[in-house]
Symmetry: C2
Subunit: 298 residues, 2 copies
């Protein structure tokens, strides 16, 4: 404010009359004046640790006259797909026994969206010595190594064995959830190793829960800053769930959450449609339209 002024009146409400100016009535002292500190004051916490810088938060930071912000290094993530049935997209139709590899693309997009950096996305050769070499190389470069598939008990399921000679220590090796039971987490050479199921839906659901939580922790974020569970109404009935905690793929529409018809963990069309996961405790009864469920953006 210029010295001596105590109010601001819009030009539209004033009129020049020779050397004087006439103002409309009703604009008393303090009009259109923002008192110092009315938005925030020195010492106020504007952006908490773990806040993601986006379109709104970066405005707040700039408004505080901050030219430099302390941010976190992006965690480096390597993604290894396993399974000799996998062919690159566009080549699966050339082999009778192949399916298109899809999971590592989705995981890579999720890693980037979570603020981390994908340093490698590789489909490993299906032999233990080759995978062991690859695991060692990735453990040297990355903060997190993700391996998809190969978590069953078959002779050629190498996801855990490929890290054993690198000192793998398992933190957990199965979770009582559906889909996603085979998900596992370990440490090797001081790095994190996350094993995701080979089924695309199982991989994406477990990544949404465990990978996002892991990358949050590595970036100084709390899990609740990243995994925001919400209470939302069901738009239709939802069947009872079985003995495992279940994450039901659903779509949010104008009338609430609608569980998708096909909950098979192998389906991939439903992934394009399922934008929310409904969390259902083991042995939950069926629910009706309008009932409230707990859900997470997928």
């Amino acid at each position: 404010m210029p010295k001596g002024a105590d109010r601001v009146i819009m030009q539209e409400y004033s009129a020049r009359e020779g050397d004087t100016v006439r103002f409309a009535e009703g604009y008393g002292p303090g009009w259109h004046v923002r008192a110092a500190g009315s938005d925030f004051s020195a010492g106020d916490l504007l952006l908490d640790v773990g806040t993601r810088l986006g379109s709104r938060t970066i405005v707040t930071a700039a408004a505080a006259d901050q030219a430099m912000l302390k941010v976190c290094l992006r965690p480096k993530v390597a993604i290894i797909g396993t399974g000799d049935e996998l062919a690159p997209p566009g080549e699966a139709h050339l082999r009778a026994d192949a399916v298109p590899e899809s999971v590592t693309f989705g995981i890579a997009a999720m890693v980037q969206h979570a603020g981390a950096e994908v340093i490698a996305r590789i489909i490993g050769d299906d032999s233990l010595p080759a995978l062991e070499r690859l695991a060692g190389e990735m453990l040297d470069k990355a903060d997190v190594v993700i391996v998809t598939g190969g978590a069953s008990v078959g002779e050629r399921d190498f996801a855990k064995p490929m890290f054993v000679s690198h000192g793998l220590e398992l933190l957990f090796s199965k979770v009582a959830m559906k889909p996603g039971k085979p998900v596992w987490l370990g440490r090797a050479k001081g790095k994190w190793v996350l094993g995701l199921p080979g089924n695309p839906t199982s991989a994406m659901v477990t990544a949404c829960l465990f990978l996002r939580a892991l990358l949050a922790g590595l970036q100084g974020q709390s899990i609740t800053q990243v995994l925001q569970w919400r209470e939302l109404p069901l738009a239709c009935q939802m069947p009872a769930t079985g003995g495992r905690e279940t994450f039901v793929r659903a779509r949010w529409g104008a009338d609430g959450l609608r569980p998708l018809g096909n909950q098979d963990s192998g389906v991939q069309l439903a992934l394009a449609q399922a934008d929310w996961l409904i969390r259902s405790a083991p042995n939950s009864p069926g629910l009706d339209a309008g009932d409230t469920v707990t859900a997470l953006e997928f």
Copy 2:
């Protein structure tokens, strides 16, 4: 499936006995077999025009054995800030009459998040000839030129005048909304020109509505694919709104949407907190906790 096989039984449920294998009971024909086309079939629409490729949708595309997808060119966007009171963040405290420029940073982040490319982010000199030159240069390079501030009737409000010599045709020059009344849209040299208010909250609210809609259209998306209005409960009372359609900044918590205390369009701390906009028709009555409102992710 190998020829002659009609079911799949997990290794865990089988046992070798010499040259024969014994299976657990209960695994009849078709067990663990997915019929061709049970997920999707040739000719099915998997990803509609305008679908954004993200972690889930890219899995669906890869699963369909698609190596190449037809995508849209990123619209090129130039952002021009106006106002001689603006100083770069970190320098505003050096001048008694300056405020930190914050809006163009937020707009740039929003443009990138919407899939478009920021080709320039410039604070213009506060003279009409300089701004006219800058406008011409940006109209040559960009698909969309955004100008912030300078939309009042003051002698030095150049946001519209700087485009006049480039043939500006206004599509609208004010909107009956709060905040954001001064927002305007035009065409010049075959490009889009969007004028945003100088107040940070007004700029971000109008950008959330008009800029995102514009960039959606330029990328083959429908407005409803991008602006998804939701019905959500209020967590607390919301006061009556005035004669303009009002977009109330709110935060979504476990118990619903909570309008922020300070709805002044100049505040910038609240921008960090407001993750949803509640849409309130002109002259709406006050609402109570639990009442349903229509809201958009901000």
